[in-house]
């Protein structure tokens, strides 16, 4: 009944893809196979550095950035648009990962906790704990609500030492670039996927003084869309 046979012709439309005869397709692999697998950190660092340099080289126009801001799910203007396009591109690359990771991580939860996050707080906890633990092997260092009463839609996830930035030093003239924008994109994907549309940006807040404990400290600023705040306030009343 529940055995998954070869996907060929098994459903809506006939797939045009060829599959190996020995059944080495993604459909035959347990989804949890690589759950706890580890790979060398160097491999990740190499890939990520290529990704960053590609993102910063490939900047030809501001177009793809604008396309993003026209996204109907995101109509409110943010001041961050004028920032570096490189971080926007990194963000864009992280986004689809977040969307898919959300499903994958929920699927791996025990059945009774498999529900999607329904409030901002559970969503942020899910990110701080599950997403972080999975990707970086530890939970995020902090989760705060903006202390500015005029910005109730802003939350901060804090990582003292983002894994992705471990081997990255940003040139002085690009000091606004934080390569953890990639991670911000992932967070944004998770938020969007759970129907909490948000814009997430990465900011370096570590002081560059000597003796500073966390020079790479990064804040991921999560700014939820107005409709999310509206819904949340209704939920709070009910």
């Amino acid at each position: 009944m529940s055995n998954l046979q070869a996907p060929r012709g098994g459903g809506k439309e006939e797939s045009g893809l060829r599959y190996p005869t020995n059944g080495k397709t993604i459909y035959h692999r347990p989804l949890n196979r690589a759950k706890a697998a580890e790979l060398s950190g160097a491999s990740f660092a190499y890939l990520f550095s290529e990704m960053v340099s590609y993102a910063s080289k490939k900047i030809e126009s501001i177009q793809d950035l604008e396309k993003r801001s026209m996204d109907p799910s995101f109509t409110h203007k943010t001041p961050y648009l004028t920032r570096f396009i490189a971080s926007a591109r990194l963000n864009v690359q992280g986004h689809p990962i977040g969307l898919k990771l959300l499903d994958l991580l929920l699927y791996r939860e025990p059945a009774r906790t498999q529900t999607r996050p329904l409030t901002i707080i559970t969503l942020l906890h899910f990110i701080k704990i599950n997403v972080w633990q999975h990707l970086f092997g530890q939970v995020a260092d902090g989760l705060e609500k903006s202390s500015d009463p005029s910005k109730p839609d802003e939350y901060m996830i804090i990582d003292n030492e983002p894994l992705v930035n471990r081997y990255i030093s940003v040139p002085r003239d690009m000091s606004q670039l934080n390569c953890a924008a990639y991670v911000a994109g992932i967070i944004e994907g998770v938020c969007d996927g759970s129907a909490f549309p948000a814009r997430v940006t990465a900011h370096s807040v570590g002081k560059q003084e000597e003796g500073e404990m966390w020079p790479g400290r990064t804040v991921f600023l999560v700014k939820f869309a107005p409709e999310v705040m509206e819904r949340e306030s209704f939920l709070g009343k009910g």
Partner: protein, 196 residues
């Protein structure tokens, strides 16, 4: 106390200490990151998969140029390979093991010992991957083409000019994933000539 000291020096001697220290990350982080790179390239090049292959190879080459140093530091071999066959073995059993935790099989040597195949039983980069069903990707895209560039770059830094390309990939519906590697020449004349 002295026992623990002895154990420690043992650890240092047989190199286990670096193995413990070697920094590891979640495999899926790497897989997803590679996936998003390829997806982005496909988008940027408008699904011109031949260009994507080229760009992946270029990225790999950049990685290879720097990776070789890391390889030399981590592998603790401290000596040159005496011939191309040995190079192939080290590459598969040490190089791939260190960086991807897999050991592809070295096979299909030509009689002049200048060409071999790497057959990948496992390919961590290809987890979760299915190529686009557009009738072209399976004929044109070599998803893991970055490997070719890495080999080319890394071996160039140790005076070997090689050419590498995939000839089959399970993602394309083939039964195996196989890469063909050919030695073009040794770049530096000082190297010992090939003997077998």
């Amino acid at each position: 106390m002295s026992a623990s000291k002895a154990a420690r020096s043992d650890l240092l001697n047989d190199g286990r200490i670096w193995k413990g220290r070697v920094d590891k990350v979640n495999a899926e982080l790497v897989v997803l990151t590679y996936g998003t790179i390829v997806a982005q390239l496909c988008k940027d090049f408008d699904s011109d998969y031949l260009q994507v292959n080229k760009q992946l190879d270029k990225m790999g080459y950049n990685i290879g140029l720097r990776l070789i140093e890391d390889y030399l530091a981590k592998s603790n071999t401290m000596r040159r390979c005496s011939n191309f066959r040995e190079t192939a073995d080290m590459l598969a059993k040490v190089g791939f093991k260190i960086f991807l935790n897999i050991t592809p099989m070295v096979t299909n040597w030509t009689s002049d010992n200048k060409q071999f195949s790497l057959v990948f039983e496992e390919n961590p980069l290809a987890d979760f991957v299915e190529l686009p069903d557009d009738g072209r990707a399976q004929d044109e895209l070599w998803y893991s083409n970055i490997f070719c560039g890495v080999l080319r770059g890394a071996l160039e830094m140790v005076q070997m000019q090689v050419e590498a390309h995939f000839i089959s990939d399970v993602l394309r519906g083939n039964d195996t994933t196989e890469m063909r590697v050919s030695l073009i020449r040794y770049i530096d004349d000082e190297l010992p000539p090939e003997d077998d």
